[in-house]
């Protein structure tokens, strides 16, 4: 017993000492760091070493980004180290906590609000900020301030399996332009093992119908939840009714991880996915022929969803001026077209839209969504609330929609109102 006490005391003392030691060494490191970078920044603003953290979709993207940053580095006299993250949210969190985040990084819209609120981001706008699509700028605005420049974006469109389409006796004239027509062709395309329209689960797909009905989960400046409204309900009800009718299905119901897989295995004759489906179809299901058209218009006009990331710059970065300069370089219409050709993303600048359409006419349906799409939820604190909504919508087929939407409002209000 006595022995134990002395061991514990020893442990206590050791840890206290360590705490003190760590505290002081921490201070030392910080002061050293600032003085070091300060002195090297003195002569000119050039010659800085920047680190960039990206979440790459593959070698094509990594190499494109490296080539672009090297071009900028050669021009400006700085150098850029590009790091590819395996789990970018986690690695960014570690960087912010340690006080040495990468200078510039990909930042997903869903993580934007929390990062801005925590003060992790340096607020800047790139040259020609007004040229970025308005919904994208809105996505990266927190508390009235735009924090970062949209890197690129994606939208949802309707993919149609041409073989199934012809097999059901449908022609180009039948391509749906309204939600009713979509339900009709989906019913006609539903045969045996094949479902007319397959949707990925959650609001990132079904939400398009909410937009088409003129609703959204939050009000325009993301301060109030508005899910428990007739417009949102109408959008969700449309999906639920068609699932009940058997002509729509969630991807999980046809044993697919996402819409693209269901489309590739031909369990779904149509899917609603973004421009990333091109790469997946090419790699995994090269034999499936398909066309891409814009989503049909809802009662309140055209509606689709946009997904986007921005070039985040750290508030703790010592090289913010250089980082902004790098973003200016990376977001020129010309450079955005290079990225589009390199790894299939869509330019976030309207000035590049015409070039993009000319280069990729088959993707016209996707880029068109830049005009009328709705950006993702990016308000802080809503990650768990959105996750809860999505988990309830996994059973959208027989969910009590009104109570699901009401619970979203309650939960979101608790986060936004506080």
């Amino acid at each position: 017993m006595k022995h134990q006490t002395s061991t514990l005391t020893a442990l206590g003392i050791t840890s206290a000492l360590l705490l003190a030691a760590c505290g002081s060494s921490d201070d030392g490191a910080t002061s050293q760091d600032t003085s070091g970078s300060g002195s090297s920044a003195e002569p000119t603003s050039d010659g800085q070493e920047l680190t960039m953290l990206i979440a790459s979709s593959g070698d094509a993207e990594t190499n494109s980004v490296i080539a672009a940053t090297e071009a900028w580095a050669a021009e400006s006299g700085n150098s850029v180290e590009v790091l590819v993250a395996t789990d970018i949210n986690q690695e960014l969190a570690q960087g912010f906590a340690a006080g040495n985040p990468p200078d510039i990084f990909y930042l997903d819209a869903s993580r934007f609000g929390d990062s801005a609120q925590a003060g992790n981001l340096y607020a800047y706008t790139a040259e020609g900020n007004d040229d970025f699509y308005e919904p994208l700028r809105q996505t990266f605005t927190y508390d009235g301030t735009q924090y970062c420049a949209p890197k690129d974006f994606s939208t949802l469109a309707l993919q149609i399996n041409t073989e199934a389409w012809a097999g059901a006796g449908l022609t180009d004239a039948d391509i749906p332009t309204t939600y009713d027509e979509l339900a009709d062709v989906a019913a006609q395309l539903t045969t045996g093992d094949q479902v007319g329209l397959v949707l990925g689960s959650g609001i990132d797909r079904a939400g398009a119908f909410v937009v088409g009905n003129g609703g959204w989960w939050l009000n325009d400046d993301s301060t109030e939840p508005t899910a428990d409204t007739p417009e949102v309900l109408a959008g969700m009800q449309y999906v639920q009714d068609n699932i009940a009718a058997g002509s729509f299905a969630l991807a999980s119901a046809v044993d697919a991880g996402w819409g693209g897989e269901a489309f590739g295995t031909q369990r779904g004759a149509m899917v609603i996915e973004g421009n990333w489906i091109r790469g997946a179809m090419e790699n995994d299901y090269p034999d499936v022929e398909y066309t891409v058209v814009e989503l049909p218009e809802g009662p309140a006009g055209p509606g689709t969803l946009q997904f986007t990331q921005c070039w985040g710059i750290a508030a703790d970065s010592d090289n913010q001026d250089q980082a902004v300069d790098l973003v200016n370089f990376l977001t020129t219409p010309e450079q955005q077209m290079v990225f589009a050709e390199g790894f299939g993303v869509m330019p976030s600048r309207q000035a590049a839209a015409a070039d993009y359409e000319a280069a990729f006419p088959e993707n016209a349906a996707f880029i068109a969504g830049g005009e009328y799409g709705q950006g993702p939820i990016s308000a802080p604190g809503l990650d768990a609330v959105v996750a809860d909504l999505n988990s309830q919508l996994e059973a959208i087929g027989n969910a009590d929609l009104e109570s699901v939407l009401a619970s979203f409002d309650t939960n979101a209000k608790a986060e936004l109102g506080g």
Partner: protein
Amino acid sequence: MTSRNLGRQARAGWLLTTPMLVILGLFLVLPIALALWVSVSNWTGRGSPLNSDVGFVGLDNYESLLAEPGLDRQDLMVSIRNTFYYVLGVVPLQTVLALLLAVVVNQRFLKGRTWFRTAFYFPSVVSSVAISLVFLFLFTGTGAVNQFLDVFGIEGPSWFSDSRGLIHIVGESLGVWSTNSPPSGLVDNDVLGLSLWEWFKGPSVALSAIMLQVIWTTAGTFMLLFLAALQDVPTEVEEAAMVDGATTWERFRHVTLPHLRPTMLLVITLGIIGTWQVFDQMYIMTQGGPAKTTLTPAYLSYSTAFNSNKWGQGAAIAFLLFLLIFVLTTLQRVILRDRDKVKSKPRSRRREPQNESSGVAA
């Protein structure tokens, strides 16, 4: 003479244990102390939690998890419910399976004994990430498991996307209730933010698939513990029981099992601690889905901190989990404690025949 000697010994002792104390302090005590501080602070994940901008918020984080109705409490309760069923299924089954395997490979006349021992232990050595990925493929809707079930005319579920609870399914097949219109008595009564209907859901099909995997993986580890204990069973006692005319079952029940009691206690304790902390499988395979039925406190703690940026609350969940495990293991030790008064004897007795039995095994 003796006191000086003792003092020298103590100094030497301290000297030799210093590296370990430093390591323990640096990697165990310090992080725990820091996490405890974070759990009562409003740290936003920016800079050190010890800097002056971080404020003390008292028990706010714990309150929103336990006292205030809302999503935070609901998520925690869902995760505790899931893990409760998970522990209830995994711990007994893995213990029984481990014991069974140990008894089998302890047979002196079993051919290829070493091969079986290695084979049963193998899953424990393989990384849980690799195993999880293999199981993902085995349990897809058209995967090997369902094809095997198909041979017997059973149409398997699409395991990892099936959120139906086992108790709900069994109840429906017995005609007790219908899952489409559950009994209002269960739905309308809430306990800690979850309806009774939700509490009595049972593990979902997805969680059950993970349970199968974990039982299969960990049984090997615990088999090793049982095997070591089995080799310690004194042969003369077994022989004496045999002479007294005890059957094989009676010998197992009244000689072997009582001898295994300390090991059993260890295995169950380790099992309970390990299962309550389950994280890898959820992180790799399901991320808490489908419909939050594989959400566990450990995964919730991670996602609250990293995805929702609520570091204090994430740390608070971790401490609540610690408390829960502490209470449960204490409870389990009280329930399973050796009621025989003689406590130190079995230990000293075990040591002597050890050489003998390992000599036989070699």
